[in-house]
Structures are given as structure tokens and as C-alpha cells.
Amino acid sequence: MTDTTRGDVRLSGISKKYGSFQAVHPLDLTIPEGSFFALLGASGCGKTTTLRMIAGLEDPTTGTVRLGDQDVTALPPYKRPVNTVFQSYALFPHLDITENIAFGLRRRGIKSVKKQVDDMLELVQLGDHARKKPHQLSGGQQQRVAVARALINHPKVLLLDEPLGALDLKLRRQMQLELKRIQTEVGITFVHVTHDQEEAMTMADQVAVMNAGRVEQLGSPAELYENPQTTFVANFLGTSNLITAEVADSSGDSLVVKAGDAKLSLPAARTSAETRTGGKVLLGIRPEKISLVHADEAGTIAAGRNRITGRIAQSSFIGVSTQYVIDTPVCDAFEVYVQNIERDGRLTPGTEVVLHWNPEHSFGLDAAQDIDAGTEEEVTA
Amino acid sequence: MSAFMRWVRRNLVVLAGLLTLGFLILPNVIVMVFSFNNPKGKFNYAWQEFSTDAWTDPCGVADMCGSLSLSLQIALWSTIGATVLGTMIAFALARYRFRARGAVNSLIFLPMAMPEVVMAASLLTLFLNMGAQLGFWTILIAHIMFCLSFVVTAVKARVMSMDPRLEEAARDLYAGPVQTFIRVTLPIAAPGIAAGALLAFALSFDDFIITNFNAGSTVTFPMFVWGSAQRGTPVQINVIGTAMFAVAVICVLAGILVGNRRKKHA
């Protein structure tokens, strides 16, 4: 099971079709050895199917799966140096914790498992529960048994299928850190499937955002958040305000775009759409990048910033920040998060305000896309 | 290894399962085929020639249809009796705490763990000692007795899996105890009760051993068949057997179809 060639996971042209339903469109993906890689997407987007094809639990319709130099596409799961932490764990109910963890070693004919099992129990901090049955453990403990049962085999890749889905919020936070610690400690490639964008961003080095059987965008969490390239990514990871605008000048490093009366500037390097003067583009800006001033003080705004006028429709006090929904001529329901450093008491619903932000924080998207893709309403619908 | 052998190896379980299914179905096929036989002599065991005589005259054998109707009556009444008594016990077991649960459970369990011949013989001893007249009533008493446990098991499983908060919700929404029972508890328990009743009907209708001991000179349909195995088997018993089989399959299929349609509309 151990071999010294590089252990990158390489998927080439891999796809899956169930009858006439294309669950995964042909995709190419390289997951670097030792990385914590997340497949992020809403349910039914093909992320679990992709994971199961890596595990060998699902035969790909086309394409190949390689681990390092080895083509494992035709290998059954029990011959692949890959292990899975299943959704809701799939612990064997008739075996105790020790036997659950030792299961893989025993199948490979290893007789003396005690030392390794003890080490694993130590790693996941379950030393006292070795002889208990799975149903006697709490959800978080079961989750750790599932991780230990997979890791003891020293797989080249550990696959995690929504491993934290069954846990409550607080425990989930704790287990996120725990999994990250374990990954750093053992240095094995983790491929993590989740629908929780926060989970993916906190844990993973690299995230592939999937939608409708395709990878929408691949990158580090910061890259995906700061420079999304599709409306789906912009809306699915955090919140984005998207303004439909017309390109007035596309000659310089910064595009000049017009939305209603406002002239806004957009860095050409941060625009993923093809742009030409007179064409349409979507200008995006994250709510926390925006500053808000009372209309009376519009004069204090520095030159060179993008600005839009509007009226506060709602405000909700969250503690660390205040979240405003603002009606503007260019986009209704503009979201703005303002840190509660110095609160301006006049900013109540109905007040006329000016929004302004550093043009460098804007990003440009192709206007031909569905502007609501990836928003909560759209995903749950 | 040839491709065919590989295919066989991969589908070994399916092939073995289908063989078992064939083993289970074969006698029914024989019964059906031989309902069209025109046997020589008294026994219908060897194929002679095709004939629909038995189908056009199903009651042409003396006493057979009478025994069939008696069996149906007994099955109906013992189903009603066992379902009512069994449902009550099931509710008590699933919904209340009381003393002597263990003893009650054993009393329910034992009749299912007892060979029929033992129950049959001991019940006959009781009837003989009491000087009871063997016949319709002793059969009915015996059938209710052995169907009861099966009904309790089926209904209890259903009631146990039912969320007690549903009843609390009903009471919270102004339903009195009786209304709660009729509007909420009973409809939810209904599939379990129906399953128990169906089981009771089938067990009672097909029972031979206990009936044989406690029937006296009364003849139910299974007893008629038993007697005919000694005296000569009329083709008509195959007709009845085939008809029952067909009716059961059609009822179940219709039930599934209706269920599917309802699911689609819901």
C-alpha cells in the first residue's frame, strides 16, 4: 500500500451518467499530494459522485482516475489505497471500537494490530472507549472512530463525505479544527466533500466549487472569495452585490462602466468576462468592502472611489457589525455590512445615504449568466 | 474462464435465489395445470387430458363448497375476534406501564413458539374434560386463540414506532381522548391492524392441525382436502386453490397500483 511515487490524485475526463441524467460532466482535476482539498457544492451537484468514483464505489462512465502513476480506474474499492469516512460514518454496529478500527488491517492479513489501534485511539483521543460499541458513543466520538478506522490503513488519500453533516454547530466547529490538526499531523491528502461553504473555507487549502455536475471554479479560499469568476461562485460563497452595467470605456487597465447615473470603475484584471465598449457586464462587490455615509456628508468621500446613492430599507444589528439593505437605482436590496466601530445614529431606515468603495475591490462577471445562481433561494428551490 | 462462467459467478446469488423462487412456485404451477386435468380414477396426480369440466362446475363435488363456506365464515369471525382482542393488548403493551409486563409478554409469545400439535392436543383435553360439544364454536375458540399473538405482534410493532407526540399534539389542538383515538391514533395504527387481520385470516383459513383435533365431525375446507387425500382427490380442489391464489395476487397487485397512484397524486 505504500509506495514512494508522488501521490497526486489525477482525474482526467471523468464523468458519470445515470440513465439520461448526467451527474458529473467530464472533468479534469489534479489534487496535489498532502493537500486538504474540498469539493464544495449544493446537494445533487455531483460532488459525492466524484468522491465515490475516486473511492471506487462508483464506476465512471468515461475517464480515468490515477493515484500518482497508477491508473486505478478499473480497481475495485478493496484494492485501492484510498479510504473513506462515510456520511453518517457507517460504523459496523456489531463490532466494538477496536475491531472497527482494526477492520482494514485484519482484511490485509495483519495479525498484530494492538499497537497501531492504540496509536490511532490516541490520535483521535478515544483511548477510554476501545471496547464500547458504536451506538454507545456520541456523534462526535463516532465521527472520530470513522476517521481513525480509515487513517489506520495509511491511505494515499482520505476521502471524507460530508463528515460533519450529522453534528451540531458547536461540535462541527470543534471537529473542523480537529480534522485540520489530524491532517497536518499525518500529512495525507484529504478530499473533503461538503455543502457548507464556511467549512470548506476554514479547512481546505484548495476548493473546487461544483454546480450541476461541473467544476465552476478552483482555487484557494481567498482567491475564490475575492475574485469569483461566475455568479454561482459569487453568490454561493458569501454574499455578493451584483450590478448590471454597460461598458463605457474598455481601453485602459480599468474599465469604466455605467449603471444608471453612476460611473463606476472596474479593474480589467479582475474581470472574467469578455468586454467591449457598449457591452454589458456584471459588476460585483462584497458587502463588507462598502462604506456608508449619510447623504449630507457625501462631500467627505475621497476622490477616485466608486459611489452610488440610495436609501436604507432595513438595518439589523448583529453585534460585531450592522447589516443594511439599501435600495439604489442600480440594484435594489444592496447589502452592506458595516463594522460597529463608530456607529452613526442617523443611519436608520428611510435615510438617504451614499455607498462608496475602493474600485480595486470590484470584480467583473459575464452578464449572460443567471444573476441569482447560487443564492440561497435558488439553491433550495 | 469463459465469459459465461464469469457471468454465472458474478450473478451466483441471483441465480440461487431465483432457483429457490422456482422451488416455491412450482407446486402452485402444478396445482393450476392439474385444475385442467381430466384424471382417470379417483386421484388427480397424473396428467391425462385437458378439460375445463372442473372450472365450469366448481361445486360439483359433494360437501366441498359447504366446507369452503364454513372455512370462510370461521376465518372471518376469528379474524374479527383476534383483531379486536389483539389490538387492545397491543395498545396496552405499547402505550402503558403496568405490573407483570414480563408475564404478559411470555403469555403472548408462547403460543407462537409452540408446535401446533401440542396446542391442539391440550385444547382437546380441555374440551373433553368440560364435556364441550366439538364443532363450529370450538374451532372458532381455537382459531382466535392462536391468531391472537400474531395480531398483537403486528399491531404492537406499528404502535411502538408511532411518535407519542402526535397524540399529545392532537390533545393540544382540542381533541378529547376519544377524538384523539379515532382521528389520530387509529388511522396511524391502521396499517399494522390491517396486516395483523390479514395474517389472522390467512392463518385461520388455512389451519389444519388444530382444527383437525377440535372439529369433531364438522368439516372445514382443509379437512375436506385431507379427507380427499385418503378417499380420492377431485379436480375441483385444484380449481379452488388456483382461484384463491389468483384472487390474492390480483388483490395485492391492485393494492400496490392504488398505493402508487396515491403517492403520485400526493
Binding site: L57, F92 | V13, N129, P164
Partner: protein, 310 residues
């Protein structure tokens, strides 16, 4: 299809008290609910057992009447005279149970995991034969196993009859009126009682456990041996009990498919009670059968340790 899946579990499931104890609203309600049914079972199930116990130690005759004389000799005499039938009952029922398990497991597995949209149809085919009287179906075996019929001649051609006759299961080129026919009838009659509990417990197994075993380097057969089969043990236990108990007391198959040398203890009880009218002997035999079965069942449930599973 609830009838199918709700096959009564014969091994008494560890009794769980209701999840939420109800307020004792109507403290006597449970007793009123229990009373009629339990009374029925006490009078027509428990009391008869006592009567039978008493009958078994009585002496006398039909003409002079019977009296309790604590004549335990009846038991010894009954055992002394009918031990071959007892032995045969246990043997035939045991073989039939093993055959049912071997035949029934693949079918239950097929229904639970492989049948897909055929599942309901196959379940119906397993249950539907119940609706044709089992006596009629048992008589059909007389046709199937008839001398010179295709089954017998096929077995003969394959030299299997030589094997069974060497095992003492058949004689010459006949199958009817041999132990093989009786065992075959018992297996056939009680097979659904094996399949349904097996199916119920297999169907409850989470399919991902099989996947997890494969993921952890278990080959398909090892995954079955280490995960699926152990988890189906409750079904195996109740299936074998539901098959063995009625098979050991059966006399229909021995009567219809066997000859006088295949008589089982059920046949003896039946004829002693209904033909010979020797009530004490019949009661003693019935009592021994009951005791033997209760002992075996208790021992078996202990050994199988169902309560230890899950």
C-alpha cells in the same frame, strides 16, 4: 406489503418499555385493555396445558373414566415405545431447517439487495402460495415426485438417487414414501417462514456498511462473512426457530408424502388422540415434545446471543 415484512419475530425481542411513560391518566385502562385477550389466552392456552399435564399422569379407560394416579410410568413407556419417532422428528425438522436456511438466504438476499424494482413482485410470489391451502400444495408434491416422473428420472440420471439412497434418504428408484420426500415437503412448507425474517433483518442493514467494508480492503465474500451475515443473525435465529418448531410437530408431510416408516411424533400424538383414544399416552408425548422444544429454543437463543447483537 406490510404482512410480508412484519413476520413475527420469534426470538422475543428485548422488551423495551414505552419510550415516554404516559401520565397515569386512567390507572386501570391498561388492565381493561388486556383483560379480555389475556383471559382468552389463559383459558384456552394456559389452562389446557395444565389439563394436559394432569391427563398425562392419569390412569383408567374410556369406559371406567380417568383418575389422577401420578402414574409417571406413562412417560417412560411413551418414550420407550416412540423414541424412533421423536428422533425422526428432530432429525427431519433439523435437516429441513438447514435446507431452508441454505435455500432461503440467497432469495432473501436477492430481494433485499439485488431485486430493485422487482422487489415487490418477488415478495408477492413468496407470500402468494400461502393463499392456496398448504394441503393442496403438499399434494402437488405427489405429482412432482411421482415414480418415473421427470424429477425422479433426472435425479436418477445424475446418479443423485444413489447418493441419497446411500445416505438412507431414499430407497431404490423411488422418492415418494421415503424420508427424502418428507424432508422435501417440510422444507417447502416452512421455507417462507425462513425467508421473511431473513429478508426483514437483511433489509435493515445499511448498504453503506457493505461499501465501508469494501473500502477497508474486504473482498465481497469477506465483507459478507464479516459484516452482512453477522448483522443478519437476528433473522437467522428467528427464521430457524420459525421453521424448526412447526416442522418438528408436523404430521401432514409425513402422512401425505411418507410411508409408515417415516412417521414423526406428530403422527403418533394425532393417532393416539383421535384414533387409539389413549389420552394419557398422547398427553405425555405432547408434553415431552413441548418440553424438548422449549429447552432447545431457550438454549439456542442463549447460544446465538441475539440480545448481544446491535
Amino acid at each position: 406489503m406490510t404482512t410480508a415484512t412484519d413476520a413475527p419475530p420469534l426470538a422475543p425481542a428485548p422488551e423495551q418499555p414505552p419510550a415516554k411513560p404516559r401520565k397515569p391518566r386512567g390507572r386501570f385502562t391498561p388492565y381493561w385493555l388486556l383483560l379480555p385477550g389475556l383471559l382468552w389466552l389463559v383459558v384456552f392456552f394456559a389452562l389446557p396445558m395444565l389439563y394436559q399435564a394432569s391427563t398425562s399422569v392419569q390412569t383408567g379407560s374410556l369406559e371406567t373414566g380417568y383418575k389422577v394416579t401420578w402414574h409417571f410410568q406413562t412417560y417412560l413407556d411413551a418414550l420407550g415405545e416412540y423414541w424412533p419417532q421423536f428422533l425422526r422428528s428432530v432429525l427431519y425438522a433439523g435437516i429441513a431447517t438447514v435446507l431452508c436456511l441454505l435455500l432461503g438466504y440467497p432469495l432473501a438476499y436477492l430481494i433485499a439487495f439485488k431485486a430493485g424494482r422487482w422487489r415487490n413482485l418477488i415478495l408477492i410470489l413468496v407470500i402468494a402460495p400461502f393463499f392456496t391451502s398448504f394441503l393442496i400444495r403438499t399434494l402437488a408434491w405427489k405429482t412432482i415426485l411421482a415414480d418415473g416422473g421427470w424429477v425422479v428420472s433426472t435425479l436418477d440420471t445424475l446418479r443423485l438417487l444413489d447418493v441419497t439412497s446411500w445416505l438412507g434418504l431414499t430407497e431404490g428408484d423411488r422418492v415418494l414414501a421415503t424420508p427424502l420426500a418428507v424432508v422435501c415437503g417440510l422444507t417447502y412448507n416452512f421455507l417462507p417462514f425462513m425467508i421473511l425474517p431473513l429478508y426483514t433483518s437483511l433489509e435493515r442493514i445499511d448498504g453503506r456498511l457493505h461499501e465501508a467494508a469494501g473500502d477497508l480492503y474486504a473482498r465481497p465474500f469477506t465483507a459478507f462473512r464479516k459484516v452482512t451475515f453477522p448483522l443478519s443473525l437476528p433473522g437467522v435465529v428467528s427464521g430457524t426457530l420459525l421453521t424448526f418448531i412447526p416442522a418438528s410437530g408436523d404430521y401432514v408431510n409425513a402422512q401425505l408424502l411418507g410411508s409408515t416408516s417415516e412417521k414423526m411424533v406428530g403422527n403418533v400424538i394425532q393417532s393416539q388422540f383421535l384414533t387409539v383414544l389413549d389420552y394419557p399416552t398422547a398427553a405425555a408425548l405432547s408434553f415431552i415434545l413441548m418440553a424438548a422444544i422449549l429447552l432447545m429454543v431457550t438454549f439456542y437463543i442463549r447460544r446465538a446471543g441475539t440480545e448481544d447483537l446491535v
